[in-house]
Symmetry: C2
Subunit: 232 residues, 2 copies
């Protein structure tokens, strides 16, 4: 669906990835999109609940069809702990397909996770996380872009239309690690889809996702209302 | 709200309007946006139900606040009949803020209405109509863009996020009459907002509204599946 296509292809088309980490996304939908990129050599997939993966294989075969792909290493475990123990400069792209920031996914919306995510990205690498709804979660979005994003070269919010989600919208928090050679913003794709079956993503949709309603644009351009964090 | 800002400002910023026709929009929300454009000299407002206008004044004063503006002529009556009897080349912009194409609004989604709308627009003038939801009404959108749009210089669909509408989305059908001097597409605004209170519309949002999901873009680029109409 539109959510999975956009959450995967926004970061993947923002660079030329070979090493990709997926955190969450137990249904396999993000994975299905990632393996459409022939440049990707290895996908490390860290999903906390192996039963979700098994259920997806059994009941949603069209979503789960890339599970078992030889490029994929599935690690059933906590993505926050995995990021803590991973080596510096390991991944070109990290995609976080999590549930909302309550319960199991709460730590995926913490500053500690983003400090580790930045560390384990390669220079110029991109993290793209489920970034909640612009109509309902303005405060959280501002915190992610302004505070968690401060240690990155760029931090942006991109909007995704999803008809079955509350308010018909969800977003992607996207940040690029310093030290890359290309454009800092993730707004302009650096590659084009080729021989991919895509129902939603186009390079135009990629760029358009970064156009935000005036009220949100003003909020994200204004100085952070939060106390600056120690690591910034 | 986002719907009213976008439906009004998409066509208004696509040209330099002096004469504007609003069909429908009984709550006054479109009117409120139209009178923010100082270049607009006269607004002809054709609303079929005077009771809606009265109720909006009484119960929704912030939406209805431009009702009574000296630039506005309110005509309580049928917009389809008004378009039939209007003179050629009368309006720079026509905005149709209608309900869905069943019951009273049905004829506003007919080829006959668009033939008259094209006739009463000035050369280069723009019509912008409530264009239904891309997730639910692909067939209707294709008919409007490909069939009703065929007598115009351009015909496009622009997407608007509205959290309270079904699927969180509605669209604008936009078409420009032949004979203008500028850009044919309505995608690129020709003026910028100045001293307007806008919560949603920006020039970036304007351009981004024309980026459509791959499945809809392919459908609108494909030859019409409908029988070509006699007047094309």
């Amino acid at each position: 669906m539109s959510y999975q296509e956009m959450l995967a292809h926004l970061p993947l088309f923002s660079c030329e990835p070979t090493q990709v980490l997926i955190v969450g996304g137990g249904d396999g939908g993000i994975l299905r999109e990632v393996v459409k990129h022939s440049c990707v050599e290895k996908v490390t997939w860290c999903e906390i609940d192996g039963d979700v993966v098994d259920a997806a294989k059994q009941f949603m075969p069209s979503v789960a069809k890339a599970i078992g792909n030889p490029k994929v290493e599935l690690l059933v475990g906590d993505g926050v702990a995995f990021a803590e123990k991973s080596k510096d400069n390991s991944f070109d792209v990290i995609i976080v397909d999590s549930s909302d920031p309550v319960g199991p996914a709460e730590k995926l919306f913490s500053k500690e996770f983003y400090v580790n995510a930045e560390r384990i990205l390669k220079p110029g690498g991109v993290i793209c996380s489920q970034g909640e709804c612009l109509w309902l979660n303005e405060e959280l979005i501002a915190t992610m872009v302004q505070d968690y994003g401060a240690c990155f070269a760029s931090a942006e919010y991109a909007t995704i239309q999803v008809p079955t989600y509350p308010s018909g919208q969800i977003g992607a928090f996207m940040a690029r690690k310093r030290g890359g050679k290309g454009e800092v913003s993730c707004r302009w794709p650096v590659r084009e889809p080729k021989d991919m079956e895509l129902r939603y993503y186009t390079p135009e949709m990629h760029a358009a996702a970064f156009a935000l309603p005036a009220f949100l644009q003003r909020r994200l351009e204004a100085p952070s209302k939060k106390r600056r964090l120690a690591w910034q």
